[in-house]
Symmetry: C2
Amino acid sequence: MALRGSLRASRALLRAPGPPGRGLCSRPPAFGFLFDVDGVLVRGSQPVPAARRAFQRLADGGGRLRVPVVFLTNAGNCLRSAKARELSGALGLQVSPEQVVLSHSPLQLFSQFHQRCMLVAGQGPLEENAHDLGFKHVVTIEALRKAYPLLDMVDLSRRPKELPPPTTGFPTIEGVILFGEPVRWETSLQLITDVLLSNGNPGAALQDVPYPHLPVLACNMDLLWMAEAKMPRFGHGTFLLCLESIYRKVTGRELKYEALIGKPSPVTYRYAQHLLQQQAERQGCRAPIQRLYAVGDNPMSDVYGANLYNNYLKSAGHSQAQAGLGRSPQAASPQAEVSLELRSECSSAVQSCESILVCTGVYRPENTQAQAGEAVFHGHRDFCFDPSLLEASHIVQDVDDAVQLAFEKENWS
Amino acid sequence: MALRGSLRASRALLRAPGPPGRGLCSRPPAFGFLFDVDGVLVRGSQPVPAARRAFQRLADGGGRLRVPVVFLTNAGNCLRSAKARELSGALGLQVSPEQVVLSHSPLQLFSQFHQRCMLVAGQGPLEENAHDLGFKHVVTIEALRKAYPLLDMVDLSRRPKELPPPTTGFPTIEGVILFGEPVRWETSLQLITDVLLSNGNPGAALQDVPYPHLPVLACNMDLLWMAEAKMPRFGHGTFLLCLESIYRKVTGRELKYEALIGKPSPVTYRYAQHLLQQQAERQGCRAPIQRLYAVGDNPMSDVYGANLYNNYLKSAGHSQAQAGLGRSPQAASPQAEVSLELRSECSSAVQSCESILVCTGVYRPENTQAQAGEAVFHGHRDFCFDPSLLEASHIVQDVDDAVQLAFEKENWS
């Protein structure tokens, strides 16, 4: 029920900035785009040259998009409004915050945690992001560190010089949100582990290790991403890998996620589709969106996610049990419930989600043969490795080619 | 051969500060102590109360030790002289740097790497430590980060604002020394991985992953250690665990160590024994040391290490193949060679190494029963889990009781 409330709220949000383009829907598109950002539209701080061409193709003469577009990124260390401004600058047209899905955006739907005291880890405007998503009681790693100065001992220069007085009055933590990779991983890894081992009171002595541990919600499981350097850089998935490895080594048990969102999670695609449909409605196009084109550079998140969601769409009409979701016990549980609630509310006309892989980021066609011989699974532990889901529907050079391809398939221009 | 040179150098060093006590050897002790530091003599910055009593017992009226003592710690983020000063203050008597074995001290013996260009990670006086140990060409993580500004991208506030010029003239890295846990783990983890994947040229594009990778020498594999907080804190072993997990996830292969030293490695105990024997000689006691008492708080490093070394001593007279060393393929290779060279040079009278576990640190007797039911292996991946090696020869309350126990066993006071 609360989920529906969240959806109503987001719908109200989406209606707010009055958009243009009603007249352009003489032949409304029955399709929409989900664009990944890093490695597709930009690399680090530099725009990919094809991106501007692609958006000139997508826009009318007044710079207004003719096709619904959602920017679907696993970035999360910023506000949606900041990401929209950044994209506006890079693409040369107005992008609204309601077109942006960050890795954490679907947390809006997890209202069962909104009233709990949540520890948040990551960078950027964490507290503002958490509040915008509906979380009422938020504690940062830095606040926890200050409240318990004896916990964070790795940095010799930051160790307390004297024994501090005992901590009193600090709230018991009831859950953890991993928004994105933090700085000083040692501090976050230590304090999150302390919170999980102590059931939210990290000043206490360890008795039995509580298990299952407090709920952990994680956004963005990308192991690697492509910036300006020639080799890929560590993403939040690498931080999660460290946390999982430490928890397993220390306790002998597996860290469990109550939610694991961002691409390739189907919850994230379902949420993005919802925004795309709202956008089409706002544009006055009553024709339902039937086909999604997901353009990305990362086989493990963009292609895998789009194909997994495509399986989900295909199976939705028949039997839920057949959904790709069901393959992984982790990915199936709370996320699947959210998806189902979403689906039951907005009966959707969307039938397919095609994956289009570009060669301007992580994926390099020249390495494919070498990689095929010794495929290393860079996806998350909880998304079991189905090699068929790594095969893109289409491979093209860049995002401009991807847009052209979709237009040809749709016989639309 | 070079190893013998190193030993001669260390012997010369040991002779330097003329120690006292010749007259006290009317009945010279045939035993010596290896004392762990954290959790035995100090906790964080606070001395353990029993430590002063123990050293009053060990010293004569003039504050001179009557029994050879080596301080055997897995700390390594400092100079031996600084640790000696710290111990002198805590124990109320003069400790010399030659009595201190830090986690990295045995690297002095690995002279085959002393001429190579080595990347060093950790905290404290890294370059000074490396040079003192014999390494001639050292590059810090910070220098590497400055030379390749596009590699370290996790901290949003430290990312380069503009594309930097290509790096030229930076030396190719030929090996990695992991001295201890660094700060900003994400930076060290990323740059070390880059160096291993690029064969020492982290600005280059990734072709095939070189394997075996460049040599990695690691000091101190303690997963956890006990400071003032009620729960144990992350040690360098936790950092190593992260690095191993990342390397395996990214490449599909195992990270290998060319050396893995510090307790419980037998190389470290052999090196400590060597210093103990030198100290007895300097005291003018010609009676050979026959028995070692290793006092520690950590079953996984202190007890396991002493027992493993005891097995090694027992088997040394018979067959090398039976040594506990041989159980683990990793721990066996280069370290075992060093040990053998050490042994062949100084034929030793040492026959046993007894482990004495104290209850003032990591080990808590009240948790033993709970722990026994669900034993979690906190040792390093490369030291296979032999539960019998976790059983201390003796368990006592504190270090003062440990000294009394040894005196009683030796019928010495």
